[in-house]
């Protein structure tokens, strides 16, 4: 079974994408399943690391937090760009020692940090587990360290580790 369907979630989403891009008809379903089977075999030949999800139930909470933060930081960055040089704004690098080691969790964290305007992921030292981010409006360096760790890292560690 697992040889025919090595990555069931990926293959199911591929079928859905195929149907969305073409039309919802039985013929397209057959073609989509064929494409998904071929892609599954191709991906299995590459032997990628299979991510393990420990806590499915926490994912909606993470998505809600991230969406809220993206809206909030959008507003903050817009007001800084349009506000002009009324207030002295300092931007700078913050290095954060992370406990999270799971590659998938780190990938999700990079998507979160980068899609939030105002923070950008620059470097991650895998040997020492230190992350380097650049913050657009840096008021309190220690505060950002605390924010990334408590708001995202602990949740991601619970989900992936």
């Amino acid at each position: 079974m697992s040889r025919i369907f090595p990555y069931p979630l990926m293959m199911a989403s591929l079928v859905v994408v195929w149907l969305v891009l073409t039309s919802f008809s039985p013929g397209q379903l057959v073609v989509g399943v064929a494409v998904a089977l071929l892609a599954g075999q191709g991906l299995a030949a590459l032997h990628p690391v299979k991510p393990r999800l420990r806590r499915w139930d926490l994912i909606p909470k993470l998505v809600a937090i991230v969406l809220y933060d993206i809206v909030r930081s959008n507003i903050a960055v817009v007001s800084i760009i349009l506000g002009g040089p009324r207030r002295v704004r300092r931007s700078g690098f913050v290095s954060i020692p992370l406990e999270l080691r799971d590659p998938t969790g780190l990938a999700v964290l990079s998507v979160i940090v980068t899609s939030t305007p105002g923070t950008a992921w620059f470097d991650y030292n895998a040997a020492r587990g230190v992350l380097l981010i650049h913050v657009f409006d840096l008021v309190d360096e220690e505060g950002w360290r605390e924010l990334i760790k408590s708001r995202y890292e602990h949740l991601l560690m619970e989900i992936f580790e």
Partner: protein
């Protein structure tokens, strides 16, 4: 736009709101990208366009086509997912390239290779090694 003639006004208002919001955010992002002074500041500005700018326009397009064809049209969401997944990759690679170039030139505005243990870099620089050898980027990340 005669194809939208018999659209309910409520739907039209929602679509108009989202399309103007998305385009406005993208414009502000590009304006900031043009105006800000350093590269590390500028890298933040276009994320306005790739986060809520894209999301709002994709949402407007989905609502409009769903209302016009009287069925759920969701294929635009693929663009939203694609942009969300790919933007971190491009910005990370570009940021790392910029950091690497600045470190190789010993630009004082960027942190050295090992920010918490700066003594290591300093002692190696004292040995007279070229900066490029010291500032090798760490490529073993995810």
């Amino acid at each position: 736009m005669s194809h939208a003639a018999d659209l309910p006004p409520g739907v039209a208002v929602v679509v108009a709101f989202f399309v103007v919001l998305g385009a406005g955010l993208t414009l502000v992002g590009s304006f900031g990208f043009y105006r800000l002074r350093s590269f590390y500041d500028r890298i933040h500005a276009p994320t306005l366009g790739t986060s809520w700018g894209t999301a709002a326009i994709v949402m407007a397009s989905m609502i409009l086509f769903s209302a016009l064809q009287s069925r759920l049209v969701v294929h635009e969401i693929l663009i939203g997912i694609f942009v969300t997944v790919t933007t971190p990759v491009t910005l990370m690679l570009l940021g790392r390239a910029a950091l690497y170039r600045d470190r190789a030139e010993r630009n004082p505005d960027v942190p050295a290779m090992d920010p918490p243990k700066g003594s290591l870099v300093a002692s190696r620089e004292d040995d007279g090694e070229p900066a490029a050898a010291v500032a090798q980027p760490d490529v073993s990340g995810p």
